[in-house]
Amino acid sequence: MAAIQKFQFQNSPGGVAKLREKLSQTLFPDELEDATWDYGVPLQDVKRVAAYWRDDFDWKKFEDRINKLPNYKASVTVDGFDPLEIHFVHKRSSKNNAIPLLFLHGWPGSFLEVEKLLPLLINEKQSGGASFHIVAPSLPNHGFSSGVKSRGFGLSQYSEAMHKLMLSLGYDQFACAGGDWGMCIGRVMSQRFPTSLKVCYYSLVPSTPPSPATPWTFVPFLIKHLLKMYTAAESEGLARSQEFQKTGMGYYQLQTTRPQTIGYLLADSPVGLLAWIYEKLRDWTDNYPWTDEEICTWVSMYWFSTAGPAASVRLYYESLRGEFPTKSGGYVPHVKLGLAYFPKEIFRLPKAWGSSLGEVVFEHEHERGGHFASWEVPEGVAGDLQVMFGKGGGAYGAVKVDKN
């Protein structure tokens, strides 16, 4: 059993002082006249947030906000690697037979994305709704978990680490919820540990078009595609997905091929890191009104992460390699799926394609929200989970909880 300890986050006064000094020494680039967000984050926005970060960001509040959550650390050893310290939030329901739910963040997010969900999911008063024990870790190389020093720590290793964490907490069976890397790790965990992971909820749906090998789905797909019989939301989603491929993949191409080079840029310039992340917070969301405080909170989570900001992009490089690269899996049997479609996700594909991923027991097309659904529309995500796992829901009873 992995040793589990309570964890209290503390700001580093020296770190904050150095950050402020670097922010004061910032050399800003120019900008083309009338430049829009098309070229990247506009200069006035970066300057504004940088000044706020230096002068007005409340570091005590940042610390308190993290420490309000029940934080722990556990030692987890993945085969072939040195032991890692995994940080996680662990909030148990008062109901013993609640469903263990592993909430996995992605990039450029963090465990803090669970913050708004917790009060919505640990609300015991609703009848018919499900109850959850929630585990929200910092992924290795992110947040307050260890960095990984050796090569080859890919999606398979991430999934193994998360699986071992859940087992160490006494959860032999559990469900998983996530988007971005959280979804990818969920997919690999589903392939590696189907006796433990019984249900996945994805807010980013990596479906592929049906192939001629499955004629029952292929023929309707072909008809729909040729006759352009997608719903307005689906057509918009397809166009958005294509646009993202065309104009939004620079970071991805860099991080999957030259993570060390981009690492120097992100580790040395706070404003550089700020712009790198802020661009995604804006481009990948549904007009979410990010406050400067929120932006700085998210960026500080990377600037002051245990492993440092450069470490977080290494998963991109590793994700193309190893036993379970990103695109692997296809139809994954044995694990029930809940799929949530958000209009401003980076890719949003037609609903019918979801069946390419596995047994879909729940589906919801949301009217609002984007890539950071748990942050943008937490009530939507919480509602999905409660319906899906509650009485009459498609995943009801799928996770055996009598051992809890």
Binding site: L27, K149, R151, L254, A275, A310, A311
Partner: protein, 410 residues
Amino acid sequence: MSPPTPFKISIPESKLQRLHQKLALTDFPDEVINTSNSWSRGVPLSEIKRLTHYWQNSFNWRSAEAHLNTFPQFTTPIEVEGFGVYDVHFIHQKSEVENAIPLMFLHGWPGSFIEVTKILPELVKGGKEEEGPAFDVVAPSLIDFGFSGASKKEGFNVDQHAEACHKLMLSLGYSEYVIQAGDLGHLIARFIALKYGPTHCKATHLNSALPAEPTATSHPELYAEMQKTPLTEAEIAGLIRTKAFSEEGNGYLRQQSTKPQTLGYSLADSPVGLLAWLYEKLHDWSDDYVWSDDEILTWVSIYYFSTAGPSASSNLYYENEHRSPSAFAAMQVYIDVPLGIVSFEKDVIVLPKAWNRTLGPIVFESTYERGGHFAAWERPDAMVGDLRGMFGRGGGAEGVVGRRGGYEGL
């Protein structure tokens, strides 16, 4: 038109001090240990630390500056239609030979006008029959690079760069000229040939060539011929290199052509970040060239101290991509201006020779086993030899510039 203003690079002391302040504050990332290929994920940490230390403690910018200033430099205002007047910085060295051939050298990224400095001293020589032709050499900093002004406006595309470079030559009294170029410079050269050739631009010698693959429908005769001749081993190796580049060597291109401003914050604010960004390519794109720390830091300093700032150099990548058709597609047409193509086997994109015939009338061709992307820097001997061969006696572009054949006497 007023004569160009003589120019000497003189970076203010305050900028040097600021740089040193920033270097002293550097935060380095750690590194994943990968013993088989330490460059596979980007520049190794040991390299960056060594160079940062050298930059802080030993690198003498004033000495590099003084060396650059031994080349005669000028600035001149050039008007670009629809955009305004730009200060263009350039080296201009005239040969002692009166009829020297006017040659414009166009750099690329992450290069600069410095790339001409190894070949220039040889090119201005010659002029006797046995020596080969002499050249007058003009080597500008492209707008948004080096010590030329910033483009400042959206839409300043390869067309505008071509116009500016062409007008520069005219302003120097060269109404007919030839061009040597690679990388971004070669794109601009193609547009100059397209728009201003063969009246003004009489020939181009390119060390990058990006032809489209001939198909049975696009080039039936050439295609039929190609079917009869198998690819050489070197050509197959070139295609493999090209594939590797397009799969894992083009992250910088994807970023610069889609979100240049986001990238720009790091490039402007972190000297070590800029160093890594550029040095990765100096290493990856050259053929075992032993870059000295002084060379690396001089090349990087030209970006760091550039007039437009280090992030401006991404602009052309963005504009190229957003041009319709893209700049790359637009110049894959047959341009009827004499063309010389040199291919270095260790360059990043190396395409089969036959494809080059889709680009124009090939009057000179050469291939070198040794040498990569920075041809004039890695193989100055080859470049000088090529230019003398192409433009000298018996060369495919002999006498293209009517009254300026490059030889003494007539």
